[in-house]
């Protein structure tokens, strides 16, 4: 009997520290599978960010550095410029990328820096306990928008792919979701495309992955999936915003 399913080599044996129903685990696995499939484990550098995935260097079996809050695209730029043969990816949440690190992500994209960004958008601050994120939806209750996010008071959510798509720089921008198997397959394709693009020197790629946070949304894992479909996807439409061009994209 052959082995039909096993842990990707790009994942360590460390157990994930994520909550039940959280999608980080799925997204980690997709990234790891892509690293395995592209055979780049020996020259990949993971740039970890600050948020729930802050210790993801314990999970990815690659070289890694841990970057300050929001600065992962800058740190990744440093790695890539000094070690151009490395495949460098950041893995950032919405607080890290779309609040603290807004300048860094915009300028990395504008420079068309040859790095890959996996951007996990769950519309809330997970690690610190459910505070409002830059991507928190209008009306959404969090511990720091307890009456529901009011545009007049707390401003409006930021659509990162659309924002970056206004720049000439980036090579590839796509928003995906991992709430059901069909979308998981689509998400993996996107992540693979992003890494392939970098391998070919194609420039800046960002895959935004909509993700559930049942714990801080105060929903069951299944209800959280529904919420991704009904609410998140309504405000953050899935799709390709910037086409990668010529990339061998089979999965």
């Amino acid at each position: 009997m052959g082995v039909v399913f096993e842990r990707p080599k790009a994942l360590t044996e460390e157990k994930f520290s994520y909550c039940p129903g959280c999608h980080h685990g799925i997204i980690h696995r997709l990234v790891a599978e892509v690293i395995d499939e592209l055979g780049i484990i020996d020259n990949t550098v993971c740039v970890s960010s600050v948020g729930c995935s802050v210790v993801n260097y314990q999970f990815f079996a690659t070289d890694a550095i841990q970057a300050a809050h929001g600065r992962a695209p800058a740190a990744a730029t440093g790695v890539k410029r000094a070690s151009p043969d490395s495949i460098v990816f950041t893995y950032q949440g919405d607080g890290d990328l779309a609040a603290m690190g807004t300048a860094e992500i915009i300028h990395a994209a504008a420079r068309n820096e040859n790095i890959t960004v996996v951007f996990v958008n769950n519309a809330i601050y997970g690690m610190t306990g459910g505070q409002m994120a830059p991507t928190t939806l209008k009306g959404q209750k969090t511990t720091t928008s307890p009456y529901g996010r009011d545009s007049k008071r707390e401003g409006n959510p930021i659509r990162v792919c659309e924002l970056l798509n206004s720049l000439d720089g980036p090579a590839y921008l796509e928003r995906v979701s991992v709430h059901d198997p069909k979308h998981v397959i689509r998400a993996k394709k996107a992540i693979k495309k992003a890494f392939q693009l970098q391998v070919k020197g194609g420039g800046f790629s960002l895959v935004e992955v909509l993700s559930a946070c049942p714990t801080n949304w105060h929903l069951s894992p299944l209800a959280a999936i529904e919420w991704v479909k009904q609410e998140l996807m309504a405000y953050y439409p899935l799709g390709v915003f910037r086409e990668a061009g010529e990339v061998d994209g089979e999965c």
């Binding site: 020259n43 740190a75 440093g78 000094a82 860094e104």
Partner: protein
């Protein structure tokens, strides 16, 4: 003729090339902009990477990333920009990633001014950002020394896997003096087995400053503290001028020490036995040498282009043995030779009055 007349800021750039540095990430700010401008012009000629970041914050984090690959990497700024870099410096210290940071100081606080000052002494020598850490701080006094200390800074940073800083001021950055690059000693850069990048055949390398387990973080803190003790034991540098028989020792660093030297010569000409003690490493402070240099002294005068920062260390390290007076100018004003001379004279009269 191997000497060239060069601005301090530009000399740092050329010296960085001589020291094997090929990566610079920075952001323009007066009075250090000639350095990024110089490297933007020169690095492409030597295969280096110059990148103007979107901010000082981004620049220092690019430095952090490049340092993790084992590259010799440089960034520079002036006071307000260095404040922005403190986050990244703390991370580099915590992750033990070597890099060289240049601060060509200007007056503060806040936006302050653009004229020379020495008011970032506390920030540079006491950590600067959050957490228990130290940065190796070098304080050159001439354009030649600025150039010489670039290599020294990189070597020390590599040796101890710690950020190092060159602390200059707007005068040093802007002034021109002859500088000889041929005489700069070339350093051997040891292989950095800890670097991230292509890991073929080795265990993976991970750099982080995160230790969620308090016991682990304390262990890390203790390890860092032991490293700092080692640096303090082995790497202090100082220069003494006529201190042997000096009854008054003037303590000053950087360019100000040269002003003090001129003042001391003037005092000597009038029979006042004065000398200058110049710390070259500000951290670690050459405290033992200071105590030795003031062995014959009856009074100490600290002179700075600030309202009094280094003077606190001078008092600390002299342990109350001697009266320590302070004379400072701030905001871009510099002490004159005459003013320092008059301070020396005052102390001399006081000392004699005691007799």
């Amino acid at each position: 003729m191997s000497k060239v007349l060069m601005k301090g800021n530009e000399a740092i750039g050329e010296a960085a090339i001589a020291a094997g540095c090929r990566y610079f990430f920075g952001y323009p700010i007066t009075p250090q902009s000639e350095l990024p401008e110089y490297l933007a012009r020169r690095f492409p000629e030597v295969g280096g990477v110059y990148l103007q970041a979107e901010s000082e914050v981004a620049a220092i984090n690019m430095v952090y990333g490049a340092a993790a690959t084992g590259a010799r990497v440089l960034t520079s700024s002036s006071s307000p920009g260095i404040s922005l870099k403190q986050e990244g410096i703390s991370y580099a210290a915590g992750s033990e990633l070597p890099c060289l940071i240049v601060n060509i100081m200007r007056g503060g606080p806040g936006l302050g001014g653009i004229q020379p000052a020495q008011s970032d002494y506390f920030q540079a020598t006491k950590g600067g950002g959050h957490g228990d850490y130290k940065v190796i701080v070098l304080a050159p006094a001439s354009v030649q020394e600025l150039a010489d200390m670039v290599g020294t800074g990189f070597d020390l940073a590599d040796k101890y896997r710690n950020p190092a800083m060159i602390l200059g001021d707007g005068f040093l950055g802007q002034m021109m003096e002859p500088v000889d690059f041929e005489g700069i000693k070339k350093s051997e850069i040891a292989e950095k087995t800890w670097a991230v990048g292509c890991k073929k055949g080795r265990e993976r390398n991970v750099h982080t400053s995160l230790y969620l387990d308090p016991e682990e973080l304390e262990k890390h803190n203790i390890k860092l503290a032991q490293k700092y003790e080692l640096i303090a034991e082995n790497e202090t540098m100082a220069q003494e001028y006529l201190t042997e028989d000096a009854e008054i020792v003037v303590v000053a660093y950087g360019l100000v020490a040269r002003i003090c030297k001129a003042a001391v010569e003037k005092a000597r000409a009038e029979g006042i036995r004065a000398g200058v003690f110049r710390p070259i490493t500000l951290w670690p402070f050459p405290q033992k040498v200071l105590r030795k240099a003031t062995a014959a002294a009856r009074g100490v005068l600290a002179v700075e282009m600030s309202m009094g920062q280094m003077v606190e260390d001078v008092r600390l390290y002299l342990e109350g043995r001697l009266p320590v007076r302070f004379y400072g100018r701030a905001g871009g004003m510099a002490p004159t030779t005459q003013a320092v001379y008059e301070e020396i004279k005052k102390i001399s009269l006081e000392c004699r009055g005691v007799e």
